[in-house]
């Protein structure tokens, strides 16, 4: 019980609270929001963005950021389509491995520029956002394949994307496994703790003997692999791919991570928070049409949620500082 409490402490608890509130209000307006199918869809939709958020968390904790996630995801989604055009019976596992490998390669490219060449991550990934998306479109126009439909993919692959075990969608299971592994590694492994140290104070971390460059590089590769996997899962879930898959996803991912309590300047936050943030934003997005709000409010809601989250954090931080100052002056008096 104590463990559960500490697991759901602070930020996570308040997101769960917000989640319950959104679900409650929406269910009152339309009871079908909370039926089995509705919940199933909700988790499916949140799974892909949750995978991206887990990867992004690893980077944001180290005071880095990856704005190229949408482009990498689009690239691996398109890759899986192309693999099926080459051979419609390509095994699902092979497609996934290829997607993970390509994603990791993109991550390694970003990571090498950040960790070895010391170019700030914001600039690198702003640049690769263009480069990867351009490769994606270039590939599509070079091969003349602008759209790949479900009919061209293997039935196994599509069945995997929409399938479930014991009522839990495959995609959500994968996200859950990634969450548990990343959460455990960040919390218990030495390399995981190093990421927090690097984010808190890069210079101090280096002086303390932490191989900062190697850790950051690895974080980029792991994050890239997760993004690559997310792209393949997107293809298997939606069954339609073009070169624009994932465009603009970086906003949703960064919003999810920040709403989940990961500090944008590194050093604090959990993957559980980020995943809950992703779940909350997805839930709000699904609730909007039911509450009679047009779907194109989503972008504004993502942005507003991000601003609200950092403002609340700041307010709490200021109050805490105030309280500490008072306590100190009382003690002195």
């Amino acid at each position: 019980m104590n463990r559960l409490q500490s697991l759901l402490s602070g930020r996570e608890l308040s997101i769960v609270g917000a989640l319950v509130a959104v679900v409650a209000v929406t269910t009152v307006v339309n009871p079908s929001f909370l039926n089995a199918q509705g919940v199933h869809d909700l988790f499916l939709n949140a799974s892909i963005i949750a995978l991206l958020a887990i990867g992004q968390t690893l980077l944001v904790i180290t005071r880095n950021i990856d704005l190229s996630v949408g482009s990498v995801m689009g690239l691996t989604a398109y890759l899986s389509g192309q693999l099926f055009i080459a051979d419609q019976e390509t095994p699902t596992v092979l497609v996934m491995l290829a997607g993970v490998a390509l994603g990791a390669a993109c991550g390694a490219f970003n990571g090498a520029l950040v960790a070895i060449a010391k170019v700030p991550a914001l600039v690198v990934t702003l640049g690769t956002l263009y480069v990867f998306r351009g490769i994606d479109y270039g590939w599509a126009s070079a091969t003349g394949v602008h759209q790949i439909n479900a009919a061209q993919m293997s039935p196994d692959f599509l069945a995997f994307g929409s399938g479930s075990i014991l009522g839990i969608p495959h995609l959500s299971l994968i996200a859950l496994v990634a969450l548990v592994i990343a959460g455990y590694a960040l919390h218990n492994w030495r390399s995981g703790r190093d990421l927090y140290a690097i984010g808190s104070n890069p210079d101090a971390a280096r002086l303390a003997g932490i191989p900062a460059g190697r850790r950051v590089f690895t974080a980029f590769v792991v994050s890239g692999a997760l993004v690559g996997l997310a792209g393949v899962l997107h293809a298997s879930y939606f069954g339609t791919i073009n070169a624009s898959v994932g465009t603009g996803k970086e906003l949703a991912v960064v919003a999810a991570v920040v709403v989940g309590g990961v500090a944008i300047f590194g050093g604090s936050g959990t993957v559980l928070g980020a995943v809950l943030g992703a779940l909350l934003l997805t839930t709000i997005t699904s609730a909007l049409p039911i509450l009679g709000v047009p779907a194109f409010w989503q972008r504004a809601v993502d942005g507003a949620a991000l601003l609200l989250a950092i403002s609340l954090d700041r307010a709490v931080q200021l109050r805490l500082a105030e309280r500490l100052r008072k306590e100190r002056s009382v003690r002195r008096a």
Binding site: L126, G138, G303, I310
Partner: protein, 349 residues
């Protein structure tokens, strides 16, 4: 002396000349007046956004919401025009809207002390969302012919478009303010160390606040040019343009950490990108490949000074170590700070 010749701005200017010479030699129609006008017009809005970003990045901050402000102002122009408002009334209202959106950024960053990166990623989404909320996903067209020439025509008898003239005026103003006034010196001071700047009596907060408002107004001006130029007000106007503007500023030799960069550098980078885009366009290179080139240019522009710094340190370890920033400095990365870019101080000597 060698440092001066090898300055980033000089390299950029050489590259600009090279690109234009290449276009002139290899591409029929490149040097025609019509094409040059088009080349310049095509980068009007990017140039205005880049000039809005320049002073902000000089202070070590960022504004990723510029293109979204442009989008919102364009959508607002469409809505007001549809409502039957006169264009003379719309212009000040749109400028005001830009100022308001800019000051919301400023309030969150300056008054509330939130990180600029997080805030403007948030308002990037929020303002673009608001644009869709006010206009929906349709388009408003049919703006009056009496105003469109301002955004499409050239100054009588030359290839210089009026809109480019506007950019030149803004750039000249920026150059004067940034390089020749106490305000400009303060921008560099804040970028090199905000605490120090504060303690030396610079009104850091007020200056930063003003920068974001000015940025909002410049984005609003850019939105008017964009709307009239394409004769179309849409919520997704200039989607993603913040990336091109940031790329231009950084390619222009402005340090992402602040405190380093010149208006001439950014101007050359804009000319370089506009020229390259035009030559590639005339040679039927697709937009997507151009985006790859833009992205690579951005990465290379930041990579070159870092690599140059590393090489210099290897060749003259002692001299380089002496000029290197001490680790106590609050600069985020001592390696990236000791770049090959000309520092602003060199201008004064």
């Amino acid at each position: 002396m060698r440092e001066k010749i090898l300055r980033w701005e000089s390299i950029l200017l050489l590259l600009v000349v090279a690109v234009f010479a290449w276009g002139w030699q290899s591409t029929p129609g490149f040097a025609e007046a019509d094409n040059l006008s088009f080349l310049l017009l095509d980068y009007t809005e990017v140039a205005l956004l880049a000039l809005a970003l320049l002073p902000i990045i000089l202070t070590g901050q960022i504004d990723l919401s510029v293109a979204s402000i442009l989008g919102f102002c364009s959508a607002l122009t469409g809505v007001l025009w549809n409502a039957g408002m006169a264009f003379e009334t719309i212009v000040p209202l749109v400028l005001l809207a830009g100022a308001v959106l800019g000051s919301l950024n400023a309030a969150l960053i300056v008054r509330f002390g939130l990180p600029a990166l997080a805030v403007t990623i948030g308002t990037l989404g929020l303002y673009r969302g608001l644009a869709y909320i006010v206009l929906g996903d349709g388009a408003v067209t049919g703006f009056p012919d009496s105003y469109r020439p301002f955004a499409t025509d050239t100054v009588a008898g030359s290839f210089l478009p009026y809109a480019t003239l506007l950019v030149l005026v803004v750039a000249a103003l920026a150059a004067v303010v940034v390089h020749h006034t106490p305000i400009g010196r303060s921008l560099y001071a804040i970028g090199l160390g905000e605490q120090t700047a504060r303690f030396s009596g610079i009104r850091v907060d007020r200056l930063k606040f003003t920068l974001y408002i000015v940025s909002g107004v410049l984005c609003a001006i850019a939105s008017l040019v964009y709307t009239l130029r394409y004769n179309s007000a849409r919520a997704d106007n200039a989607y993603g343009m913040e990336l091109i503007a940031v790329a231009a500023v950084l390619l222009g030799g402005v340090s992402i950490f602040g405190g380093r960069g010149t208006v001439v550098g950014v101007g050359s980078a804009l000319l370089l990108m506009a020229g390259l885009r035009n030559v590639l366009f005339l040679n039927d290179v697709t937009n997507e490949i151009q985006n790859v080139i833009n992205g690579l240019l951005l990465i290379i522009s930041v990579l070159v000074p870092v690599v140059a710094g590393l090489l210099r340190r290897r060749r003259h370890p002692v001299a380089a170590a002496a000029t290197e920033q001490p680790p106590q400095q609050t600069l985020p990365d001592p390696v990236a700070a000791s770049t090959a870019h000309g520092s602003p101080e060199e201008d004064q000597r």
